[in-house]
């Protein structure tokens, strides 16, 4: 450390790191450092993605799984099957897509509102703030399946806590089915939101810490109440945080697999049939991998379009502001 202060003084003139003044080493070392990461990303993510796209154009039924590279071409057939909304497969995909859109939008809104409410409540210092903050992080830290299994138990019709509490509050007759039938989507949103809102809370709270205090003080002097301060200072200051947060929450919920899989097992109720789960079942239960791959590619294209459009719209807006 003593050495550091010695050499730190003449350095500021040249901004570039000394590491870059060794041309020979400089040329290959960064690539060598990246090589393991690149190789693994290729093996586990990029190549499988490309294989997946290829798979969507071949006839990959269970007869060809053992020797899959010999599967005959199918042209656009898999896509035709997936997108033919007059037959069962296409209808199933369309319905599952609708369920997933509803699930994602409601879960993201739910998580954001709860996260914002908690972050605002914890903005001023008070006794016990640290304890509450730590408590709120527990659902995020819990392994997904442990939390979801607990909810599964609580949502059981006859032995679960949810029906018990609702019945005692006279909100239902204590006999509601949550994991089958039409309420499955409500159950799904509650469980996914339970885990996700604390991430929104974490991000928003950290974002609020970077808002200068004197902005609020100045507003107070001008007579602005808390609600006005929130609308005119907190919300605009958090815009960059919110843009990233909402996109990330949407991408996560839209591709959520754990929640339906652990909550419902393999027999999903139609009302809780999320798209990744639908693709998984279409591929592994019916062994129709070509169609499953086509659905996957469609999902990817959809997510890319949404992300691109979102970045375009929000980017333009924040530049104008």
């Amino acid at each position: 450390m003593a050495v550091a202060t010695e050499t730190a003084t003449p350095a500021p003139a040249k901004r570039r790191s000394r590491l870059e003044h060794r041309p020979g080493l400089n040329r290959w070392l960064p690539y060598a450092l990246l090589a393991p990461a690149v190789l693994l990303e290729l093996l586990i993510h990029i190549i499988p993605m490309l294989v997946g796209i290829w798979m969507s154009f071949v006839k990959l039924t269970k007869f060809f799984i053992a020797n899959w590279s010999a599967a005959p071409g199918a042209g656009l057939n898999n896509y035709k099957v997936a997108l033919d909304f007059n037959n069962a497969v296409g209808q199933g995909l369309l319905k599952s897509f609708g369920v997933t859109v509803a699930f994602s939008l409601v879960t993201v809104a739910f998580s954001w509102v709860l996260g914002m409410a908690a972050a605002v409540a914890l903005q001023p210092e008070f006794r016990g703030r640290g304890v509450v903050r730590t408590l709120f992080l527990v659902p995020y830290a819990l392994p997904a399946y442990a939390g979801i299994l607990t909810w599964n138990f609580m949502l059981q019709r006859d032995t679960g806590a949810v029906n018990h509490v609702l019945h005692q509050l006279h909100l239902n007759d204590g006999k509601t089915f949550w994991l089958i039938g039409g309420n499955a989507l409500v159950a799904l949103i509650t469980v996914a939101g339970w885990k996700l809102w604390t991430f929104a809370f974490l991000t928003l709270m950290a974002g609020m810490q970077s808002i200068p205090r004197d902005l609020y003080e100045a507003a107070s002097v001008d007579g602005a109440g808390n609600l006005r301060q929130w609308r005119n200072i907190t919300l605009p200051s958090l815009r960059p945080v919110n843009l990233v947060l909402v996109l990330v929450l949407f991408l996560w919920t839209f591709s959520d697999f754990n929640t339906p899989y652990v909550l419902f097992g393999t027999a999903q109720p139609p009302a809780g049939d999320l798209i990744t789960f639908h693709i998984y079942n279409a591929s592994f239960l019916t062994w129709n991998f070509g169609t499953g791959a086509a659905m996957s590619v469609l999902l990817l294209v959809f997510l890319m379009i949404v992300t691109g459009a979102y970045l375009l719209v929000t980017g333009r807006r924040s530049r104008r502001a």
Partner: protein
């Protein structure tokens, strides 16, 4: 924000409601793990009729939980160690060197985070089968396959977060190490890494959490020999009985190490997550 009366009421109501939302499932998990089987098979009660530790004993026999525990531990710890080591090297390159393809690399790696797992699950499975057929290297049904798969899951985020940490360490420090005769790797090892220790810890915990909680790939890539906790816990439901008290006990036991680790490192974690979002 001013601590007006209205604000205090708002805070009280918000924190109570959210506190209950968070706490009730945790409470149910803990108390149910202390109930005899007949309690969890009947109507819900807030308190055990008979406080018992039996579920914590029986859970090891109903399901080979110890074996799954060992599998999960080996897989998660190995994935974490390799992931962190590889991320450190890559983040050092991204943070300290300007080279061709730098932007392409960071963009590509980060965008792989966006892909839903179900997209490359089956192709990866088939590639693993092919590797087995051509090279005799068994990846499906072994821990090695899971380790390799999981270590890539946390890699993009780890590289991104560590590069941010490294950026915040003054370059003058590693230049001083170079003057002292260290090579670039010496500078990384002796100067950059010790200064970035909080970031390394946060990334390690994130990697461990990712591997420990993974469900989708574990459900396809495992057989009885390498089954992990995320799949193994389902086996408490049999044809005749669902051992809810043992499930809750097991869920509690598998959660405790992760939750404690996360809460200890949460400060570094929060700083890392938001550094990128706020920029």
């Amino acid at each position: 924000m001013r601590e007006t009366r209205g604000f205090k009421i708002y805070r009280g109501v918000t924190l109570t409601v959210l506190g209950l939302f968070v706490l009730i499932p945790l409470y149910v998990m803990i108390t149910s793990s202390l109930k005899p089987l007949k309690d969890v098979q009947g109507a819900f009660t807030w308190w055990p009729s008979n406080l018992t530790l039996a579920p914590f004993v029986d859970m090891w026999k109903t399901v080979p939980l110890a074996k799954y525990f060992v599998n999960s531990t080996i897989v998660s710890v190995s994935a974490t160690v390799f992931s962190v080591a590889i991320a450190i090297l890559a983040a050092f390159a991204v943070s300290r060197f300007k080279f061709r393809g730098r932007t392409v690399f960071t963009t590509t790696v980060l965008s792989t985070q966006m892909f839903p797992g179900v997209l490359f699950l089956l192709p990866l499975f088939l590639i693993f089968v092919n590797i087995n057929n051509s090279f005799g290297l068994q990846l499906v049904g072994t821990r090695l396959g899971l380790i390799i798969t999981y270590l890539t899951f946390s890699l993009p985020f780890s590289i991104w977060m560590l590069a941010g940490y490294f950026d915040s360490i003054p370059r003058e420090l590693d230049e001083a190490a170079l003057v002292d005769g260290c090579g670039p790797m010496g500078a990384l090892w002796r100067v950059v890494l010790p200064a970035a220790r909080p970031g390394v810890i946060a990334v390690a915990i994130y990697s461990f959490m990712t591997a420990w909680g993974e469900v989708l790939f574990a459900s396809v890539m495992t057989t009885e020999a390498n089954r992990t906790l995320s799949v193994g816990l389902r086996q408490y439901s049999t044809q005749t009985n669902i051992y809810w008290n043992q499930i809750m006990a097991a869920a509690l036991v598998v959660s405790v190490p992760v939750v404690i680790g996360f809460l200890l490192a949460q400060r570094h974690f929060v700083a890392g997550v938001t550094a990128g979002a706020v920029k």
